[in-house]
Amino acid sequence: GIQVEQSPPDLILQEGANSTLRCNFSDSVNNLQWFHQNPWGQLINLFYIPSGTKQNGRLSATTVATERYSLLYISSSQTTDSGVYFCAVLRPSGSRLTFGEGTQLTVNP
């Protein structure tokens, strides 16, 4: 099956810093989503981005499908950004999302 690798596995920031999270995938995809899982376990949709660039406030994402990677940018980080960020992909022939292992982000005040 398709492999999804996220880096870094852990990231600690001071409030106000910027960061870039990476997601590499091993095969062509129809769908790529970024999620934020907050400390209460809720999984929040951040982006649906099979290709191109999108921005939502302090967050933006870029997917380069031909090179099989996606980047999530967080600017001016806040303590509420803490949690686990997951990348998940959907293959053209399937319906099941395959998740990466996640990046654990901690933003300190």
Partner: protein, 115 residues
């Protein structure tokens, strides 16, 4: 996007018992899924809930342990049967509106602890 209500939000159960988790959506959706997230791990798909027919299970998951129902396009249940401490996890339902290239949206999850 659809509003997904999952119940219960958490529970503590005794080993050997069973628990049924409900997932209710406020609009008709084409696809519904059930995921498990073990402590400190990523999400793993248990099965696709098929409306009016048996669910499609992923490798490593069986109907006897995780029976699933989906009587209509807005509701599904997952039962965790004969629970053991290894079943302590977060269980999440997700839905897709429209084609399967549309984004998946997740419920808030059920945090299950087995004593």
């Amino acid at each position: 996007s659809a509003v997904i209500s999952q119940k219960p939000s958490r529970d503590i159960c005794q080993r050997g018992t069973s628990l049924t988790i409900q997932c209710q959506v406020d609009s008709q959706v084409t696809m519904m899924f059930w995921y498990r997230q073990q402590p400190g791990q990523s999400l793993t798909l248990i099965a696709t809930a098929n409306q009016g027919s048996e669910a499609t299970y992923e490798s490593g998951f069986v109907i006897d342990k995780f029976p699933i129902s989906r009587p209509n396009l807005t509701f599904s249940t997952l039962t965790v049967s004969n629970m053991s401490p290894e079943d302590s996890s977060i269980y999440l339902c997700s839905v897709v509106e429209g084609g399967n290239d549309q984004p998946q949206h997740f419920g808030d999850g059920t945090r299950l602890s087995i004593l």
